[in-house]
Symmetry: C2
Subunit: 340 residues, 2 copies
Amino acid sequence: MDRLNQKWILQHRPAGGVSAADLELVHAPVPPPRDGELLVRNLYLSLDPTNRLWMSAREQYLPPVGIGEVMRGVTVGVVEESRADGFAPGDIVMPGEGGWQLYTISAARLARKLKPVPGVPLTAHLSILGPTGLTAYFGLLEIGQPKPGEVLVVSAAAGAVGSAVGQIGKIMGCKVIGIAGGPAKCAWLTGALGFDGAVDYKAEDVGAALDRLCPEGVDIDFENVGGTIMNAVFERLRQNGRMALCGMIAGYNDEGPLPGPRDFGRILMQRLTVRGFIVIDYLPRAREAFTRLGQWIAEGRLKWKDHVVEGGLAGAPDALSRLFTGNHDGKLLLRISPEP
Amino acid sequence: MDRLNQKWILQHRPAGGVSAADLELVHAPVPPPRDGELLVRNLYLSLDPTNRLWMSAREQYLPPVGIGEVMRGVTVGVVEESRADGFAPGDIVMPGEGGWQLYTISAARLARKLKPVPGVPLTAHLSILGPTGLTAYFGLLEIGQPKPGEVLVVSAAAGAVGSAVGQIGKIMGCKVIGIAGGPAKCAWLTGALGFDGAVDYKAEDVGAALDRLCPEGVDIDFENVGGTIMNAVFERLRQNGRMALCGMIAGYNDEGPLPGPRDFGRILMQRLTVRGFIVIDYLPRAREAFTRLGQWIAEGRLKWKDHVVEGGLAGAPDALSRLFTGNHDGKLLLRISPEP
């Protein structure tokens, strides 16, 4: 059975925002899997700010995607052929490196079989029960070290990671303020998600809003954005405050260094801790996190939204750009092919 | 018995380096101590980079010294009159707030009686067995978290804190590189103190020197200086590296924010931890540190130098300015009056 793959090949490093011209959609036959390999048909592709980093030559936590290589991406797929024990056609898996492609040949040892959770859609394995959930869980609990009564501010709070962080913060007993773009997102945060306050950065000065919502200052900045929004929160971190530095999307479309807050000296004067982290460092502890996240979901204490872009692989570059404009509602995913 | 005090009063906030014109040396009678108080004649005054901060209106970890107030300073002195149990004339003490003055009236509950250590001069209680030693000890061990085989870079390495940090780093099994100004200081680091390498920032490019001395990168930056020297070390911090942010003397003579490293994004990409600290947070644990520091001194594993400026209180502003030019050799102290 000859399968024709579709795959996005990185043609050159984007200047500014990603456009479809930076990649080429190539069609090519899929080789058969060898011993120890699986042939996976991808169902969903996770689109994340970090994808833009991978396209750049910037110093980062993984090697940049090479020019001429398939664009890196995390997927969920269905096994169509298995040459490995423990995997059978029909199994739902997260292949080791899915990529922006219809079919992936994955080493079975790098693939993770996903157990369906009743009432939870498959897409959740790329969001709240996937890397997104792990990022929120470990980033807040390990890096942010929240204590009851502390003030937690989350940027990109209506985003996939941010909305989970804020809810986990509430579970931990924090006062939680979210920063998001537009009244609908802010209303979702303070309504369905139970945040204590929300700042619409498109409509108000972030610093002034924080002064109103948490005049006592900020203990934890869960930072997804960088730039001026980060600076506004950083300037309000109080003694022994922490910044869990998860992302700096405000700068990913630019070349050159990612600037920090204006007065680095506050780290000294207020004994702040600024700590960066990458979720892949926590993958060995994924089970612990998924167990707890799953409990909170079952108890109705942790909500999330998946935003699935339809239309297939061809739309991947355009879909990615939505992350930089906020033109999406929930964890951004692309449907690559229909669920079995 | 009427004693005439000499005290330096802050007249206005310095612009740039401190000069004697920023303060006024006032003579006034000393009031008698009241119940629970001691009258202390100060012997030595500690001069530290942070003194310059206290003179500024900059946001900091203690309230700035008020205009018209006695300049804040840490001293060691001798009790001349005691109105408190447990203290007698002749006792050597560190008063609660000594100040830039000849006599201090100190609440006895804020004074610490100093036990003479055989073979150790009194001045050590303002250096290796005082705040300097505590800063080095807790800053490196608690904030830097050194592990054997790791690379530790110390700026202002021939200074009071830096030289102790480097030696403790060696005791902990680190590879230690010091950054200092001039060949004599560098030779002291790699000679008497046993550092693995030294960078003369006045004679060579710090980044290039680090690339030569520790091509593997840096695990811990014990940062005393800030500015371009900090940036050179920061750019070489490798994955999971730490910056113990102890001081930023390069910026203390300026107004406005204290700038950070060029590419804050490295904190994210390399999962760095940048943490500020102030020694006063560790005062409750001073005994633990002094015990261990004392052992290392007794074993000959920890050396230090006290640089005592003679000539009395009148020279305090000039003496302080030496910290900013490096024109001193060891922990900078001013002799206020003769030892009893």
